[in-house]
Amino acid sequence: MTWEPVIGIEVHVELLTSSKMFCGCRVSFGDPPNTNVCPTCLGLPGSLPVPNRRAIEWLVKIGLALNCRINEWSVFHRKNYFYADLPKNYQISQYDHPVCVDGWLDVSGPDGAFRVGIERAHMEEDTGKSIHLGEGGRIHSATQTLLDFNRAGVPLVEIVSKPDIGTPPRARAFAQELREVILTLGVSDARLEEGSMRFDANVSLRRPGGPLGTKVEVKNMNSFRSLERALGYEIDRQRKLLEAGREVVQETRHWDEEAGVTQGMRTKEVSSDYRYFPDPDLVPIVVDTAWRERIAAELPELPAQRRARYLDQGVDPQTASVLSASEPDLRNLYDQAVEAGADPRTTALWVTGEITAALRRDEQLRLPAGGELAELLTLIEQGTVSASAAKEVLAGMLAGEGGAREVAERRNLIQISDSDALSEVVDTVLAENPDAVERYRAGEGKVLGFLVGQVMRATGGRADPRLVNRLLAERLG
């Protein structure tokens, strides 16, 4: 009998608002420690929180993008626990009345499309940062803790998926799709390595159709790859335990990227009892229909909608996914070129192929305008430049040498489609290769290719190969 993994993902997203969630301190990363702090985010006696309206609007935006129901009435709670980087020793968060509930996200994964339920998305505040000084920088061998509260109070949205993700690759695809949504909304820079987007996972195994097993929380995965690897490892570990007739312990485990394993933290002395209660410093949030609709009207095109549009425009599914996941500049280039009349399918292939590759080699390159790309594609279609020459034209365009035709002309890459001009070259080639002509006429058809090659070489590759073929055929006929 097999075991079936059940995976739920918990995501924390730091919002890139101008100011913090409950005070006016700047949201700014990499500043000297404790320079963006005030009485409120330091939890000084007497200070009070006042919520950032934009952060709430952005949370609603996220909720709408994830097809959530937006609760008309929601409340901030205090989550009580003592930790050195939590200034008030409680975190303002949401509990039984979050802003967003019951949504879903459609994901196109490696094995097809699937839907992940969204349990909730709520607002909270981030903690400060602890630096553990001592041998190896590890918590349990540290001799001192240095505390920086610049991050304390940065708006943090927590998104909790339903536990209905079946495999690690799907978990990864979900995480990537969610990141695309967040980036598209423009509410966070969503950098995994810097922690502005953080993934935790809950994993358990069960018999197909059977009751849910004991779940383990896995933390500390700083890339999509480590998310997938950690889940793979953890599922394997649990399967081995269960197959050996042993039990899975409910616990939190840390992913160790170098060792490639998840490791249990020492068992907690105190079982967590967060003593949630409504924060009496704050009044309820009411998102009425008018407010919700105003926010909905501002929603940009979401990744799934974008992919559907690309497919409608005739782009193949594989390219549509790649294009959708591309940088906004590249997607805009596609849109503008198509608007300027270029064929969507070809445009998408060029944008995700040659142009992306060129940018990867050199980030400084200047993207062409949509009209310029359209012009290049027209030159190819009309046979003015060959497909291979077009790559060289593009290189010139990216290097800032000018528009497509300008570059093609300057670099002498225009195809010779003039049959008079080509006829001369063809005649010369035939005159210079009597043997080949003889062999062809004797029935050795493949010699034609050699003669075409000679014409191409004589024209520096610029001859229109179809025309060359026709002219040779006429003369050898």
Binding site: L42, P51, T145, V270, V283, P284
Partner: protein, 100 residues
């Protein structure tokens, strides 16, 4: 809610949740005092409150927000001068244990 709840107080657990390191004799004395107070407080349980919404803000208004505009932060020297220990722009605390 009609039945009174028996008052049993795991004072060690409560003191740990509240992060107050009390001596065993102090704990026992607080346990006894809390018992007396809670017995009185438990009178709230005798009231029929079915259908009553717990109160939030006495004046009942909602949506108190600030606009997303940065305001000046405190000078760091002023912030750190109040700290029991500080160094290189950081607050300094003893080591954090994983079990916390």
């Amino acid at each position: 809610m009609s039945a009174f709840m028996p008052i049993d107080i795991d004072i060690v657990h409560v003191a740990r949740l509240a992060r107050i390191d009390l001596h065993p004799d102090e704990l026992e004395s607080y346990r006894a005092q809390l018992g007396v107070i809670l017995e009185h407080a438990a009178k709230v349980q005798a009231y029929d409150t079915s259908g009553v919404e717990p109160i939030s803000h006495p004046l009942g208004f909602t949506n108190a927000f600030r606009e997303d505009e940065p305001a000046p932060s405190l000078p760091r020297d002023e912030v750190l001068s109040a700290a029991p220990e500080a160094r290189d722009g950081y607050f300094v605390a003893p080591p954090t244990m994983e079990t916390e």
